[in-house]
Every structure is written in C-alpha cells, then in structure tokens.
Symmetry: C2
Subunit: 423 residues, 2 copies
C-alpha cells in the first residue's frame, strides 16, 4: 500500500480529497444559515432537473433489465416523480434541524486555563454504496449540513442516475454560493477506485452501505477510519410470559412487511412453555404470508411443513420471506443463542415479566434492544434524529442509527495567559 | 487472515478474550461500588507486594543493561518505591471518580415508545505498549472502573515487572470478589501474539501506545477497531503580536523539560516581523539548554550555529533536545505549514492579536489548539479527566486525552406496548 507507487486513480482521488477538504472549510465559513440556504438550493435544483434525473434513471433501469438484473435490485434502483420529490423535500426538513457544528462545552482546567470543547466536521467523508440513488441525496444533505466534504462511489448500475443527481446537487450548491466540490462522484466504474478509497490517506471516514460482502471487504482491507453498518441478524425472543397476539404482530412486522432491510427479523426463539400455543399461530399466519420456516426439531414437531434448520440458518440474514425458528428451555438459553449468532444490531423480547425483560435488556449486547416493540424501529427517523447516514453495528464513535452528530468530531480549544506546565 | 487455520496463539487469545468478556459482565454486575472496592483492593495488593514487584523490575533492568539497552528506555522501564506507591494510590483516586457506566438519557420516540440510551462498557480491550510498567497499572485501573476486560501485551523488556504487577492486580481483584480475568497478560514474548491481537475477532478495541513504528503497524494491519494515539509533531507559532517573553517560556516548556513525550514541541515558526528580536533570545536560551536547532535560511542568518533544516526535519518528531525552526511571512503561511506537517495532536500560537488567535484556533485541524499556553497541557490529568488511557490523534470516537468515557459505548433500550412500525 504505502510502498507502492501512486497510480493515476490514487492521484485523482487525492485531488478529490483536497478539493473536498477545501469545500468543508468553505461550508464551515458559510455558517449554519449559509449551509441551510445551500440545502434549500439543492432541493430546488433537484425539483428543477427532475425530468433529466428521471430520464437518467430510466436509462439505468433499461440497461439493468437488458443485463437481466435481479428484480429486487431493480426495485431499489428505481426513482419515480413522487419518490424524487420526497427525497428533495427532505433536504428542506434537514435545513430546519439544529446546526450540529459549533456546539461547545467550556470549563476551567489546570492553572486557570479555559478549555472549550467544540464540535467540528470530520472533514472528508467517503461513501461506498450499492444501487439506491436516494442514498446519494440523503448523504449529500447530511454532509453539507454538517460541513463535511463528500466523495461518493455508488453502484455501477446506478451510475447514470447518480451523475444526474450529483450534477443537480452541485448546481444547487453553486447557486447558493457554496462550493460545488462539497459533493463529488467517482464516475469511473473501474473497481480500482474502491481500492483507492480504502487506502486514501487523509480520508477522515469511509462508510460502506450495502451487502455483507461489501462491508466485510471494507472492514478487512481499509486502512482509513471506517464505520461498519447494517448487517442485522435480528432475533425475537417470545418469553413464557409473552402476550402471544402481541408477539405475533411484532414477528409479522419484523419479517413480512419489508424483509430486505437490516432491522428485519431473521430468527424467532420461543420459550417451550408457550411453544404449543404460539407455534400453530405462527404457522397459520406465515402460510398466508408465504414465509418459509426453518425450524429445529421442537418446531418441526409442531409445524410439519417447516424445513430443518441447519447451523447456517441460525447465522443467515435472509433479507427475504424466510425465518429460522427454535424452541428454548428458558431465557438464558435464548440469551446464549443471541450472543452466539447475533450481529449486535437489534434484538427484541416480548414478555410481561419484569425480571425477564430487564434481564434481556441488560444482557444482550446490541445497538438496540426492544422490549414489547418491533426491531423495525431502529432507524434515524424513528429515533427522532431527523435523518440517518446508516446504522452502526460497531461500538466505537457511533452505535445504532447515525444522525448528524456522528459526522462530527470535537476540537479542544485552550486559552491562557502564558501558562506553562513546568514538569 | 480469516481463511487461515487458527494457530495455537489464536486459540489461546480467543480463550483470553472469552474470559475477559465474562469478567466484563461480572464487573458490570458488581455495580459502581463493587468496582470501586476492587480498585481499592488492587491498590492494597500493589502495596503489599511492592517488594516482589521492585525485585522483578530490578531483574528486567539488569537484563536490559546486560543487553546494552538505550538508557532512555531503561529510565522508562525503572520503578522505584515512591513511583510504585504513587501509581498504586492513583487507583484510589480513580475509585472516587464518578461511575462512567449506567449514565442514561431518555426520550419518547415514534408511536410513544420510550428510548433510553445508556452507557455500557466496550467489552474487551487490548493494549499493546512498550516499556513503561506504570501503564500496566493505569490501564488496569481504567478498564476495571469502566467495567471492561483487559488483555495486556507489554514490551518484552518489561515482562518480569509486568508479570509481577498483573499477579498483584489479579490478587486484589479476587480479594474484592471481582473476577481476576478482568486483567490478563500475554506473557510469551513471541511476536505472533501481536499479530494475533490485530486480528482477534470480537475484540472491541485495540489501543497501541508507543513509538510511531508500532502505531503505524497497528493502524495499517489491524482488522479490529483501533484508536490511534500519541504521535505528536507539535508546532508553536510566534505571531508578530506575540509577547516574546511568554513565547520563549512556552517554547522552553514544550521543548526542554520533558522532550520525550508526544505533547512536546518539535517545530517553532516565527513571524518575520519579530524574527530579529525573538531568534537571538531563543539562541541564547537553547545554548544553555543544549537544544540543537535545525533552521531554514532566515533562521540560520540570525542563529549561526543552527544546522540547515531539511524536508525531513519539518516532519520529524525528535522526542529529544532538537527543534526545527522557520521564519514565515504571515499567519497564513504558518497555518499552511502546520496543515502540511502537523499530526493533528497539539498546536499553539502566542499572540495578543484577537484576529490572529481566533483565526489560528479556527483553522488548525488538531485535537488541541492552544492560544498563549503550552502544548504540554494536552493530558487527561491536566484536562481534569482524572485519568488517561492515551491521547487520541484520530477524529472518530475520542479525540485528544481519553478518559473513562472513551472506554464506553452506548446501548439503546426501547420499551413499548407492542408497537409495530407497519411499513
């Protein structure tokens, strides 16, 4: 890495990084009002260029179809006038949120020095993501609001859409007197650009958003700071003291409505005392919903059509209409299972027993732990953060839904009258 | 890495990690009072076993001397009764600090759900460090206080001292009914253990403390979360509106008293308007102090004995009685120099000009930026954190001196009455 000669890709990325850093400085200098004006101008530019953006998106969709792409991916790729208008209008909502920069805390420290700890942008942030062009708009909005420069590397199947979106966003920035280079797009589909970003010296944060393969590669290879997002092998534990109708509603909310997201449920564990009552309810509901059950022996005795669950099923993030189900003798067995197979994203218990609920919330090591509520609430908007750049499944810096503050750091400013430490 | 077969080292480290994680759970269960009692018992055990510890340290020192080790390293390695007693007593101070765990913030989120965000330990922390055995005590104290399990890998030259210290600390933990495995030491000097820690799956944080070579290797190679610490190429900029006596005192504090630390000064930039007045003052003082000056042409015209500064001098962290000095035409030139060569640790300006001071504090991208004060204040104790596990020079998670909070993360607990998201 460090010892190899820089390639043309590395040099180009270094140039983008330097322009993004200069843009970050200019965004800070604009102040909160200037950055809000930029967000409103970005919104207007998206509305004004909606036709060109939707035409570009149709081009991507036609190419994807010609290449015989997975329909689920096509769906994530597709924009329509209403969706684009909502994404644009969300920039206006973002403009109204409190400024995450400049917030400071002061105190006196040694020898009467005044220490002021102030929130500042991270600097230059890169995002590697897959097909959803909406992420382009959300990420640009969050980074402009927080005074950061952004380098985007989207999926090749969304390239034409992303180019049209970024052209509009940059036009908006310029119209508001803000630096267009605050939002830059890598337009070359060559994979070497991804490798270059993983090792781009001076990059302050790299966020991978997408499938497990992408996130694993970034975490394993990157030498720049990374926040790991989004892999969720989420569990629901139905306790012996559960309200079973509530449990079924939460199970269905987590599995059926939007199965392709990271806060969807992938495994359901049932206390053996309620297995006879609950499993037939699940079987009847999931037959209607078309959900395939992979069960352990105790489940298969009660749900004949369930397939046998293998070791792989317990670890699998299906992201589709499949679920792993098991019967456990008690809460501690459920906790042990979750500790072994969970991905520290979102886990839930349904119970009306105080000790079971508190023990579960205490013992589970995850970003979010639910008691009588759906795991689908792990989301920046649901948490009231106003926006979300991803859901962190790591423990450093940010955990769970990441809003604007996750895109900032602090600086310690110390003022004195010539104080020296003298030792 | 992931595809290779686990070695005996990897298996042993996995065992240490699992025991450390169980110990973390036990420390949390002990509560704040139980953890404080453990710290006091660790203090008592260090006092009680002081003779054995000092004998072990003499053994390390004798071996180091026989191997012809650098005297500066010998000095860092040496313990004496007073130093050991102070290190032990600091555990008592730590016991009195507020508990970093359990601190929570609550609010209502979507659909009336109650979200409680609560501070929890990171889990398992590993420290790779060099010769100072005092770090063993400090790190153990901080991790026990914050409910984390700790795996220590010290320098081979301090192995006997560290083994004696860790034996005492573990005895203290046990005496207080706390798990001894909260503090574990890798006692095999084989370098493969370092490699194993860099890739130990499930490790929550790895902190390297030591020279630039160690820190670079860890940051480049590690696939576990790392906080980068300590490299400090710190600058002092003496502005045209500086009080020159103050500037000289701050320069001397930063360069002469304790030159081998990361917050010491390595470069001094002087505004050309005060170069004729200030440089002779520096020359006279540094002749007495035995500091070698590496200067640019403008400095060498005024300080004949200064050696010519090369590109390498501007980037060098001397950690000794040497300094790079240059004359700049204005504040902006100083800022550009710091942006190019600084390591984002601590930077200082001396000036009585309001605009120069505010511009410097705004523009410099570093963990700590000083105005009329010494960079030597970048320190957890000086900042009133009560303790310090290192000084972060990165922007994610923690920046600047890291106290107890840097060893924690948050967990989001959500309670409801069966709420589902429904889309």
């Amino acid at each position: 890495m460090a010892t190899e000669l820089p390639t043309a890709v590395d040099s180009a990325l270094a140039g983008m990084r330097d322009r993004a850093r200069a843009a970050s400085g200019a965004l800070v200098a604009l102040g909160a009002e200037g950055r809000s004006r930029a967000l409103l101008a970005m919104r207007e530019a998206l509305h004004a260029r909606a036709e060109a953006i939707l035409a570009a998106n149709r081009e991507d969709l036609a190419r994807a179809e010609a290449e015989g792409i997975d329909p689920a991916l096509s769906k994530r790729l597709a924009l329509d006038p209403a969706k684009l208008a909502t994404l644009a209008d969300n920039l206006g909502e973002l403009a109204r949120l409190p400024d995450p920069l400049g917030v400071s805390q002061g105190r006196r420290i040694a020898k009467g020095l005044r220490l002021e700890t102030v929130r500042v942008p991270l600097g230059v942030i890169a995002l590697i993501y897959e097909s959803r062009p909406g992420v382009t708009i959300e990420a640009a909005g969050l980074t402009v609001k927080s005074g950061n420069g952004l380098i985007l590397r989207g999926g090749h199947e969304a390239l034409t859409s992303n180019a049209a979106l970024v052209a509009a966003l940059r036009q908006g920035l310029e119209a508001a007197g803000a630096p267009a280079d605050a939002v830059q797009l890598v337009e070359d589909p060559d994979r070497r650009w991804v490798g270059g970003l993983l090792h781009l010296e001076g990059l302050d944060l790299l966020i991978p958003r997408g499938g497990n393969g992408l996130i694993r590669r970034v975490v394993q290879e990157a030498t720049v700071p990374v926040i790991e997002t989004g892999v969720g092998n989420c569990h629901l534990y139905v306790d012996r003291a559960a309200d079973l109708d509530m449990a079924l509603a939460i199970l269905r909310d987590g599995k059926v409505r939007t199965p392709a997201v990271c806060n969807a449920l992938e495994t359901c564990l049932v206390h053996e005392a309620v297995a006879d009552a609950f499993l037939p309810m699940v079987a009847a509901q999931f037959r209607q919903d078309g959900v395939t059950i992979h069960g352990d022996e105790a489940v298969r005795r009660r749900i004949p059509e369930a397939l046998p669950a293998t070791e792989r099923d317990w670890a699998e993030e299906y992201l589709g209409l499949e679920i792993a189900m098991g019967v456990v003798p008690d809460l501690e067995a459920a906790l042990a299972h979750i500790a072994r197979y969970g991905t520290h994203h979102s886990e839930a218990i349904v119970t009306n027993d105080y000790r079971a609920g508190t023990r579960f919330q205490e013992a589970v090591d995850a970003a979010a732990v639910y008691w009588n509520a759906s795991t689908r609430f792990t989301d920046g908007f649901m948490y009231g953060l106003g926006a979300e750049v991803g859901i962190s499944t790591q423990k450093l810096h940010a955990r769970g839904p990441m809003g604007l503050e996750a895109l900032t750091t602090v600086k310690h400013l110390v003022r004195g009258e010539g104080q020296t430490r003298d030792f």
